[in-house]
């Protein structure tokens, strides 16, 4: 199989990579580019651990092909904080103990960021439905939802 050449932007960096036509974007991120912050829980679009943004749209990177990144703007967990400053969502996840094992956390933080971009003042129910694609087996979601709603409050106040 001949590799394809792809030019893209990841977390603001101009990146080029080679991949097989059937490689998923998740594989490219994790294996080619060593961006292992994006996690794989299922490889079939069911768990949300691999959540990233593709031109601002929230997607499961296990369902996107590497070649589809051509000319796109990709956002991953590695791009959420600003230099040595955590994003409010990250701070709130820590403050509320919204992670136990932490494997779902990168996906949830990326999804929460997308949620709050679309809806700066979600109700508990809206947050629960928006994040329904992100499985967490450890927390029972209670503290995650609290962290999300608290982050929303702070971000609105700060905006």
């Amino acid at each position: 199989m001949t590799k394809k050449h792809v030019s893209t932007t990841i977390n603001g960096d101009a990146i080029e990579f080679l991949c097989d036509p059937n490689d998923t974007l998740l594989d490219v991120l994790r294996k080619e580019l060593s961006l292992t912050g994006t996690k794989e829980g299922c490889g079939s679009g069911d768990c949300g651990a691999c959540s990233i943004t593709l031109d601002e749209r929230l997607v499961c990177s296990c369902l996107v092909l590497g070649v589809e990144a051509e000319g796109k703007n990709i956002g991953t967990i590695e791009g959420v904080s600003n230099k040595d400053q955590l994003h409010v969502i990250q701070e709130k996840f820590l403050e509320h103990a919204a992670l136990q094992c932490g494997i779902c956390t990168p996906g949830l933080i990326v999804s929460t960021q997308a949620l709050l971009k679309e809806n700066s003042n979600p109700t508990e129910e809206e947050a629960r439905y928006y994040l329904a694609g992100n499985l967490c087996r450890c927390t029972g979601y209670d503290k995650i939802i609290r962290a999300v709603l608290d982050a929303a409050d702070v971000m609105r106040g700060a905006a």
Partner: protein
């Protein structure tokens, strides 16, 4: 416990020290390590549930360009029948090897047969598909009834039931029978005014950790290897891998990656010994990652059960006798938690007459692994359903009924010891007084109450705290941190030394950098490793005092230690920990605190859950609308992570009660090995989970800690299912309470 101790650090809600790496994606989990020259291993799994392997021909796979090594069962040395530690129980070494790579028979759909390592995942996968296996297909045995039928196909010709009065002469799928007895149930039942008996069924479920099993193994020519893996216990991975491959322990360095959930399922080896064989044969580091489908097919599950329960009570609400006959599926190899079921089933109750018979039954499903309080959720589900039904029939409030019969200090357990101080009564009182329990229900809603008991364990933990020249320190521990335990260790070190929390950095060391630690399991880590941290901290305080005494030319007895500062009682001199550490060159070298302990006195943790559901009578769909989890923590070191354990356990139990089950077709082929069809709870399925932390200190821990990790999964099964039966006004016996199952009960009323 008259006086309430004042603590400076523990009980706070501090930020976990490993949190920053985890919210930024920098933390490295099982599949995140890549090494130069690394290749990929893949496993060939059985398409049949039960078959003889007639031949394996891997010539084509071996010939494929890019394939560097192949592993089969023949790569294991001859193994003795010997037990090795596996989670909260033990596994037989030979069974373990046969589970890793099948020998003459495959015993479940997904049973591993052979592994290939190749320069890419794609080539490894292609090679696996080129392997030709000839099978003689046998009829599968898919549940306890089939397994124990007279003409049942036998999984293991050499398995004879243990624990029978007469030594059996024919092989059986029943591996063992055990019983627990206290008093005489016949006497107790004769005393009863009312007796209820029912049989319950719970399906095969999976722990459902989001991170699949993964490992990278690198063997070098000197015979040393490094095993990187996601595990609850890297020392036990080392022990079983060494045993399976005939290696001494010092040849294996096992590094525990961050772990993406385990719940008991990451206490045994699936990939590591196989990757080791592949690495040794190829001379290259080998990485193996299970797909989600493989996780469901080849790892985990928790036992399906059939449990019959009979309970008698007097009209005044006194329970007179409790009896059970329970069978637990072990999967393909013996070793279900049936015995633990027998030990836990009636333990929330102080009743004179009890009897439990437990059967361990093999079936053509994956070998079960520990799953959070193994055995207890299923067993206590059955008992709690009948207890609630009795309360209703006697027209007694279900909490009052439990209070009247509750186990407390001095209660004789069915399995041996008498109860020490425990918090069941306190949990029941807290439940009774909770706003939730006081609230009213609407139409089509129901409420369930259930209690839960789990022993908790202690065991071996080793900790070193190395102080730095500036008075900061590193806590070197060896208990994989699965849910925030580093934060608790940091707090306990601060409490024990009086040195501020942020001066300590906790790390999880590999098997070469700290002495043996038992696995993170049995709710032992905060209790036992915490105890070791406290002892190591006290060791540091002692040394600090001696060093200060040396500086002042007094005896250590003349030095006080107050909030991390040495004080000379005679002369009012003071030396901070940082000053002492800076001056160690003059007082005898660096300071390290050390504790290698075998912690005893783990305090049982009781819980009581209250659950409200609403049932859609047309579809049978159940929604949990309010939920409260109440549990005794002894002392909550970090309340947020304690609440997190309650909430997480509750929700796993809600999933078990409502939707989760392995679905097999009649040939024993697993129909739902994915998160789409094996449906664990989503954020949108749930309300907030209210929590109440009860604290009845455990006298055997310096700060009163009880393990809290497991108990929380026990009560939800009955709390949810009884709430459903309360809503639909008909008894529920079989889990899950999925829409079709509930609808069936509604329609057959």
């Amino acid at each position: 416990m008259s006086e309430v101790k004042e603590y400076k650090y523990i009980g706070q809600r501090s930020i976990r020290p490993d949190g920053f790496e985890k919210v930024t994606g920098r933390a490295n989990y099982g599949s995140d390590l890549n090494l130069p020259g690394m290749i990929w291993g893949k496993i060939l799994r059985s398409p049949h549930a039960h078959a003889k392997i007639l031949s394996i021909d891997y010539a084509k796979a071996e010939a494929l360009s890019g394939v560097l090594s192949i592993a089969t069962h023949d790569d294991f040395p001859d193994l003795p029948v010997e037990a090795v530690v596996a989670g909260e129980g033990t596994a037989n070494l030979r069974d373990l090897a046969q589970n890793l790579l099948a020998d003459e028979k495959v015993l479940y759909h997904g049973h591993a047969i052979l592994a290939v390592a190749a320069i890419s995942e794609a080539i490894a996968e292609k090679a696996v598909n080129l392997v030709e296996v000839e099978y003689e297909i046998l009829k599968p045995v898919l549940d306890i009834r089939e397994a124990t039928a007279d003409d049942a196909p036998i999984l293991h010709d050499d398995m004879f039931t243990k624990g029978l009065e007469e030594v059996p002469t024919v092989a059986s799928n029943v591996a063992a029978r055990t019983e627990f007895r206290k008093g005489d149930v016949e006497v107790g039942f004769a005393d009863a005014d009312i007796i209820i008996e029912r049989e319950f069924y719970t399906p095969t479920v999976h722990q459902g950790y989001i991170e699949p099993h993964a490992t990278t193994v690198s063997y070098d020519e000197s015979g040393q290897s490094m095993v990187w893996c996601s595990t609850q216990g890297h020392f036990d991975v080392r022990a079983s891998t060494a045993k399976l491959l005939g290696l001494s322990l010092n040849k294996l360095k096992v590094v525990a990656s961050e772990i993406g959930g385990g719940f008991g399922g990451k206490t045994i080896v699936y990939l590591e010994p196989v990757a080791h064989i592949l690495s040794k044969k190829s001379g290259r580091p080998v990485k193996m990652i299970m797909s989600r489908e493989e996780v469901f097919k080849g790892s985990g599950p928790g036992s399906a059960t059939r449990i019959w329960v009979k309970i008698g009570a007097k009209n005044d609400g006194t329970i007179t006798a409790m009896q059970s006959n329970m069978s637990f599926e072990a999967g393909a190899f013996k070793g279900s938690p049936a015995m633990l079921g027998g030990m836990t089933i009636f333990t929330p109750y102080d009743v004179e007459h009890m009897y439990a018979e437990c059967y361990d039954v093999v079936v053509n499903k994956p070998k079960v692994a520990a799953y959070r309080a193994p055995g207890a959720p299923q067993a206590e589900y059955a008992a709690e359903m009948v207890v609630s039904e009795l309360a209703a029939k006697l027209d007694i409030d279900p909490i009052e009924f439990r209070l009247q019969n509750a186990a407390k200090e001095g209660t004789q357990t069915i399995y041996g010891p008498k109860m020490k101080a425990v918090g069941l009564v306190e949990c029941l009182e807290a439940a009774k007084n909770s706003p939730h329990y006081q609230s009213a229900l609407k139409a089509n809603q129901g409420r369930g109450i259930a209690a839960g008991f789990w022993f908790n364990i202690g065991g071996m933990s080793s900790v070193t705290i190395n102080m730095n020249p500036d008075g900061t320190g590193t806590i070197v521990e060896g208990s994989p941190d699965i849910g925030g335990s580093r934060a608790s260790m940091q707090m306990m070190a601060a409490e024990a030394t009086g040195i501020a929390m942020d001066k300590f950095k906790p790390i999880i060391a590999d098997t070469e950098n700290v002495a043996y630690n038992a696995s993170t399991g049995g709710s032992r880590t905060t209790f036992a490793t915490g105890m070791a941290v406290i002892e190591a901290g006290e060791d540091i305080v002692q040394q600090m005092k001696e060093r200060a005494a040396a500086v002042w030319n007094v005896t250590a007895a003349q030095v006080d230690w107050i909030d991390g500062v040495a004080v000379n009682t005679a002369a009012e001199n003071r030396l901070t920990a940082a000053e002492i550490c800076a001056g160690v060159g003059r007082t005898g070298g660096q300071i390290s605190g050390r504790a290698n302990i075998n912690a005893r006195g783990a305090g049982p943790s009781f819980a009581v859950h209250v659950c409200d559901v609403e049932v859609d009578m047309e579809t049978g769909k159940v929604d949990v609308i309010r939920y409260t989890a109440i549990q005794d923590a002894g002392k909550a070191i970090h309340p947020s992570y304690v609440e997190g354990q309650y909430q997480g356990g509750a929700v796993q139990g809600i999933g078990w009660a409502l939707n989760e089950e392995y679905v097999y077709n009649e040939d024993g082929i697993l129909q739902n090995p994915g998160f789409l069809d094996y449906r664990i709870p989503l954020a949108s399925d749930l309300p907030m989970i209210e929590t109440i932390i009860v604290e009845v200190p455990n006298a055997y821990h310096p700060y009163g800690v009880r393990g809290v990790g497991e108990t929380g999964i026990i009560p939800p099964l009955a709390a949810v299912a009884y709430a459903v039966s309360d809503a639909i006004k008909a008894p529920v016996t079989d889990l899950p309470c999925s829409p079709p199952n509930v609808l069936k009960i509604i329609q057959s009323k």
